[in-house]
């Protein structure tokens, strides 16, 4: 029996999760919410995380009904993400590891999303669509690595949604993407937007500037609901199309969607429909596990721990750039 604590804070969410073998015992999280029209900046975000992380650790331990002595290992997000917030979490993880005399493992954030998704859904060897505020990647496993088949060549899809929400001055609570999703449900009229796919890659910056430049005239013909609807229909179609192309290329029959944008129900519906048409299976999770959280770092850490991985003390730093395919997936035996 292995009990793992995972700590995450690479962007505006900070969370601590405890996992016992495959079971999530606790997973509390807090989000730094900025006013409508504003994004989150590294220094303020780090300060927010500093203020709440200790209470999150307490809460995670209480809810899990364990004692710190029972932990086998402490895991934290090594990257990628924003520097200052990453450092806050790493420092607390290092301190706790020293204090409780536990081994420590630095985890790649993207791998955390993938392993959490696999654990919750039971998907075996899926093509992974990883969509969040900082990343948009289409990933498949081969030869001990998660390999990137497609990705955005400019901004991430979540970043595109968040910046669009800022133009419309939508609330950032609980997240811009969530509020776009609710508005889109009432949208009817489809605005023709730039649709850019290149092989298995996508691009969103042209679409975003298209809206930015024309917003004042567009809002006379389209309601905010119509604009949210049009944005979702267009960017999600791009994601589903490139995912399908990757599946056709690799011959894969499973899709798993992870990352914050992955909890969008319209996106999940579209993926399911695509899978239905090619006799494939679609796997998704809800916001508890899609949006950044501590348990996902614990789950990837658990796999690594069981495979014998430990991070030497000198290497327990963070790194803002850390590619999914930089990690050797030693725990995967297939």
């Amino acid at each position: 029996m292995v009990i793992v604590m995972g700590m995450e804070g690479s962007a505006n969410k900070v969370g601590v999760g405890i996992i016992k073998d495959g079971e999530v015992l606790s997973n509390p999280r807090k989000t730094y919410i900025t006013p409508p029209g504003e994004g989150f900046q590294p220094a303020e975000t780090a300060r927010h995380h500093q203020g709440v992380i200790i209470e999150l650790v307490d809460k995670a331990i209480k809810e899990a009904k364990i004692k710190p002595e029972e932990l086998d290992v402490i895991c934290y997000t090594k990257g990628p993400g924003m520097g200052a917030p990453l450092v806050v979490v790493a420092i607390v993880a290092r301190t706790l590891a020293q204090l409780w005399n536990k081994p420590i493992i630095g985890v790649n954030h993207c791998i955390g999303h993938i392993e959490m998704g696999r654990a919750i859904t039971g998907a075996q060897n899926p093509t992974v669509l990883y969509v969040s505020g900082g990343n948009t990647q289409i990933i498949a496993y081969a030869n001990k690595r998660y390999r990137i088949f497609g990705e955005t060549i400019d901004i991430a899809v979540g970043n595109c949604l968040d910046r669009f929400a800022r133009i419309l001055k939508l609330s950032n609570d609980p997240s811009p993407g969530y509020n776009i999703e609710q508005m889109a449900k009432k949208g009817k009229k489809l605005l023709q937007l730039p649709y850019v796919v290149k092989g298995m890659d996508v691009s969103f910056s042209g679409l975003l500037s298209f809206i930015e430049e024309r917003y004042n005239s567009l809002k006379k013909q389209y309601t905010p609901e119509d604009l949210c609807f049009s944005l979702q229909e267009t960017v999600f179609a791009m994601l589903v199309e490139t995912t399908e192309r990757a599946m056709a290329h690799t011959g894969s029959q499973e899709v798993l969607v992870v990352g914050g944008v992955g909890c969008n129900e319209r996106l999940q519906k579209m993926l399911e429909q695509m899978c239905l048409e090619r006799n494939a299976k679609c796997f998704a999770t809800d916001e508890r596990f899609c949006i950044d959280n501590g348990a996902m770092i614990a789950q990837a850490g658990l796999e690594m721990f069981n495979a014998g991985v430990r991070t030497p003390w000198e290497e327990t730093f963070c790194t803002q750039r850390y590619r999914t395919d930089d990690v050797e997936a030693v725990w995967r035996t297939d």
Binding site: G134, F149, G158, Y195, K198, M270
Partner: protein
């Protein structure tokens, strides 16, 4: 066209699916005695009907133009026989005895222990990489952007591949995302797509794409260098992305 010919039997499509691509179903058939591939772009239920219709029409048009333009500059592509604009089908020449380059490389590597190639296999791969570079170089020189330049969309004639002295013969297909553009940017993205299709599937032959690039620059002497610089910039974009701003 001969008016005495009965169209119903002159143009046939077999019911059995030949291949399911990402955006189309492919069937075999015949057109006035010639073997055909019928590529049908079916509507995608997951996307909004207006968007679906717009994309399908755009891609039908792009496919026909791309195939024709490449044929005109001497790149091997299937001949187009017939276009069903209501049914969104293209009836084109069936290329026989071909493998996708994706499958072909896989077969070559399968014959090698631990994925490390013997001399013969290495030579074949080198020849292939050179020919890929030449073909893409020619296409870009003419200002044609493929738009989905993966190893599934390059076919190799397998009739003569055993013979070491003949160069591999390559065809390009699947032009639905193609367009004409002379910017280094779009050409760079074409190369980037190809590079990742190669490295993500065949991580143990990283030199393959280097040879592609060398022969690409050798073929496309007027602009290859600039595209190469762009490619390096595009590669970095993937690594430097930030979520702020």
């Amino acid at each position: 066209m001969d008016s005495n010919v009965n169209h119903a039997s002159a143009v046939t499509v077999n019911q059995q699916l030949f291949k399911q691509g990402a955006e189309a179903r492919l069937f075999t058939g015949s057109f006035f005695g010639r073997k055909t591939i019928v590529k049908e772009r079916f509507s995608k239920k997951y996307r909004h009907p207006e968007l679906d219709e717009r994309l399908t029409k755009e891609r039908m048009r792009a496919e026909l133009k791309g195939l024709m333009r490449c044929k005109n500059i001497g790149i091997w592509t299937p001949a187009v026989y017939f276009v069903g604009s209501k049914s969104n089908t293209v009836h084109m020449e069936l290329l026989e005895n071909v493998d996708t380059v994706n499958i072909y490389i896989g077969k070559l590597l399968m014959g090698c222990v631990d994925g490390s190639c013997d001399v013969q296999c290495t030579n074949k791969l080198k020849q292939l990489a050179e020919e890929v570079g030449i073909t893409v170089g020619k296409m870009h020189l003419a200002g044609i952007i493929h738009g989905d330049l993966t190893t599934s969309n390059i076919l190799i004639d397998t009739t003569n591949v055993e013979n070491e002295s003949t160069k591999p013969k390559l065809a390009l297909i699947d032009f639905g995302l193609s367009h004409v553009d002379n910017s280094a940017e779009d050409k760079g993205v074409d190369l980037y797509v190809l590079e990742r299709a190669l490295t993500s599937t065949f991580s143990n032959i990283p030199w393959f794409f280097d040879i592609v690039l060398t022969s690409y620059r050798g073929t496309y002497t007027s602009g290859g260098e600039e595209v190469f610089k762009k490619l390096e910039e595009i590669r970095l974009r993937g690594r430097k992305r930030t979520m702020i701003g």
